[in-house]
């Protein structure tokens, strides 16, 4: 591992690097499987059983079942892979993203209409 990771200082942000990829490998590969319609069907029918086919941790599986995307990301989920889950649920990127912010969907949608989340106070300002 690099001895320092300046990007860990960026607030409210998980950068998907090799360490995260390693932790989340099977979680992300599970997500990939949802790209095929028959798999989406089987997953919908019995989520725990489908998840049990993958060498994921129980914590990862529970996070999927709970659709707790922040938790999934802390356990190595990459957003583009996790997107297969919310696509399967029929919800959009905007809807899924709003669940990670602690805002309601209407609040989040309004924030975006108003120009998005401001960078002011949301960036790392110190030395790298």
């Amino acid at each position: 591992m690099p001895s320092n990771k300046p990007y860990k200082n960026i607030p409210g942000t998980t950068v998907f690097d090799a360490d995260m990829a390693s932790i989340g490998f099977h979680l992300n590969q599970f997500c990939m499987s949802l790209m095929k319609a028959p798999n989406r069907e089987r997953f919908k029918q019995d989520q725990q059983a489908y998840l049990d086919e993958w060498p994921m941790t129980e914590e990862q599986k529970q996070a999927v079942i709970a659709r707790d995307y922040n938790h999934m990301m802390s356990l190595g989920g990459n957003i583009y892979f996790l997107a297969k889950i919310f696509s399967s649920d029929g919800i959009s990127f905007q809807d899924a993203a709003s669940t990670m912010t602690g805002m309601t969907l209407p609040e989040y949608a309004q924030m975006m209409l108003d120009g998005g989340r401001t960078p002011q106070g949301n960036m790392y300002e110190g030395d790298k």
Partner: protein
């Protein structure tokens, strides 16, 4: 000989594709965005490119974590739209240009760009949404497309500097191809956005507009920007903007700005769009 005549930059937000596919482009939310693309739709009909080299990122559609190429070039004859969880986008298959693509691959590999040569991959919204924005909804895409996929999923993406230099190498390759082809190069993705975590929804207009300024007139300088600055200022997904530098590196130092457009929001993203012609 083949020649790169122009470049296009555009965001490739999946919600834009959904809006087009579901007939929502004239709704109040979408109408101002699509208006910004009226110009390029007319412009491209006059330009009549034979081939578009389309730089984009795959979003865990063709590539999973078993294979993460830094740069991949599609040398196949035909590419299907990917099923990203909703079924494939209802758009025509993308027809490639195997001869030019292979020629580019061979040239840039010998210029020390360590490409992965792919044959056929499914192409996701990163590639098909720009085609829809520029060409509308035709029965068939009116030109050949060479997909150039860049890793922005697994940190680190290639640097802005690396991307800019790859653009130069691609230009050199195109100019040594002995068929008279009118070639465009498109750089897609961005602009500032963050799709994940508590900071989801980040939009940085200052950063984006400075980027739109500098990529025209100070691309060399802009190419020095570090990963950290993209991630910190433009959002975790803002790193995609390095791909615009591949497009810019393939054009002349001096270009004519034919269109500049910026709009917030499209879903979680700031939409940016440029049309640049070689002088």
């Amino acid at each position: 000989m083949a020649k790169i005549t122009a470049g296009v930059a555009t965001s490739h937000v999946p919600a834009i594709g959904a809006a087009i596919d579901n007939g929502k482009t004239q709704e109040p939310y979408w109408q101002p965005l699509f208006k910004g693309y009226d110009y390029v739709k007319q412009w491209v009909k006059q330009q009549k490119p034979d081939v578009v080299i389309l730089v984009y990122n795959d979003h865990a559609s063709a590539f999973d974590l078993n294979f993460v190429p830094t740069f991949a070039i599609g040398c196949g004859a035909e590419f299907k739209p990917a099923d990203e969880g909703w079924g494939p986008r209802p758009v025509p298959n993308v027809m490639g240009h195997p001869q030019l693509a292979s020629h580019i691959a061979q040239s840039v590999i010998q210029d020390d760009f360590d490409l992965t040569v792919v044959n056929t991959i499914d192409v996701d919204h990163g590639l098909t949404v720009p085609l829809s924005l520029v060409f509308g909804q035709p029965e068939a895409w009116p030109c050949k497309v060479i997909p150039v996929a860049v890793n922005v999923v697994l940190y680190p993406a290639p640097s802005g500097r690396r991307c800019y230099n790859l653009g130069k190498a691609i230009r050199k390759a195109v100019e040594s191809f002995d068929q008279d082809l009118n070639v465009q190069i498109w750089g897609t993705g961005g602009m500032s956005h963050q799709l994940q975590g508590p900071r989801a929804g980040l939009i940085n207009k200052e950063f984006d507009n400075a980027f739109l300024d500098r990529i025209v007139d100070d691309a060399e300088g802009l190419s020095q920007m570090a990963h950290f600055d993209y991630l910190n200022q433009a959002g975790s997904e803002g790193i995609e903007l390095v791909m615009w530098l591949i497009m810019r590196g393939a054009l002349n130092d001096k270009v004519e700005l034919k269109q500049r457009f910026y709009h917030v929001p499209a879903s979680n993203t700031a939409v940016g769009h440029l049309v640049l012609e070689n002088k």
